[in-house]
């Protein structure tokens, strides 16, 4: 999955995303924040381990991240 795909999926679920240095800061509707690496721009390839961490941070399942 690329960063651009993740942006689209999280955006649909009501998360807000803002740039923060070499990361993007994602904030859930309940205010919890987490970071997404964007060191290769919007084409950054996101790893499965990272996605598992993102799911833990926001209480999501991997199914929730399917388009």
């Amino acid at each position: 999955m690329r960063l651009s795909d993740l942006h689209r999926i999280l955006g649909k679920r009501g998360f807000t995303i803002e740039p923060a240095a070499k990361h993007h800061k994602v904030t859930a509707p309940d205010g919890v924040a987490y970071t997404i690496p964007c060191h290769n721009g919007m084409r950054t390839e996101i790893t499965k381990i990272y996605l598992k961490g993102l799911c833990r941070a926001f209480g999501l399942t991997e199914e929730d991240l399917r388009d």
Partner: protein
């Protein structure tokens, strides 16, 4: 006189490994706050997890949350314990990595202890860097 602390300081552990599923990517995981990042090289992955941890810690503190409540699952801490038993100390991480071949790099795991400081007045990261007295640890067996 204001005696309130102006900075919050956190000491954290991070594990850095090659990604299984994305060639050329390194995954860095701060266990204390369960923050994961990535980089194109081991060193970039280290600096990325410093940055990500500082952003998350600053945001949590601004919202009255304790970033240490995020702590990684127990199995990740157990994996860290196993790694530490097999690792060797590296005083100069950059120099150590420059001596490794690409093939050796692909089987490398790194353990780094670092500190994150957040300015409580601005809720911005004040500093995030490796603890110089605590050398990095390197292990050639990713599966350990």
């Amino acid at each position: 006189m204001n005696t309130q602390p102006q900075r919050e300081l956190f000491f954290c552990w991070a594990v850095i490994r090659p990604a299984d599923d994305v060639p050329g990517q390194w995954v860095s995981h701060c266990l204390d706050m369960d923050v994961i990042s990535q980089g194109n090289t081991p060193l970039e992955a280290v600096s990325m997890v410093f940055e990500a941890t500082a952003i998350v810690a600053s945001d949590d503190l601004m919202k009255g949350r304790n970033p240490l409540d995020r702590r990684a699952p127990a199995e990740d801490w157990e994996a860290l314990d196993r790694l530490q038993e097999k690792c060797e100390s590296v005083t100069n991480l950059e120099e150590f990595l420059s001596r490794l071949s690409i093939a050796e790099n692909q089987h490398l795991a790194l353990v780094v202890q670092f500190k994150v400081q957040v300015d409580l007045r601005t809720h911005q990261p004040a500093e995030s860097r490796r603890i110089s007295r605590m050398p990095a640890l390197a292990c050639q067996q990713v599966a350990c």
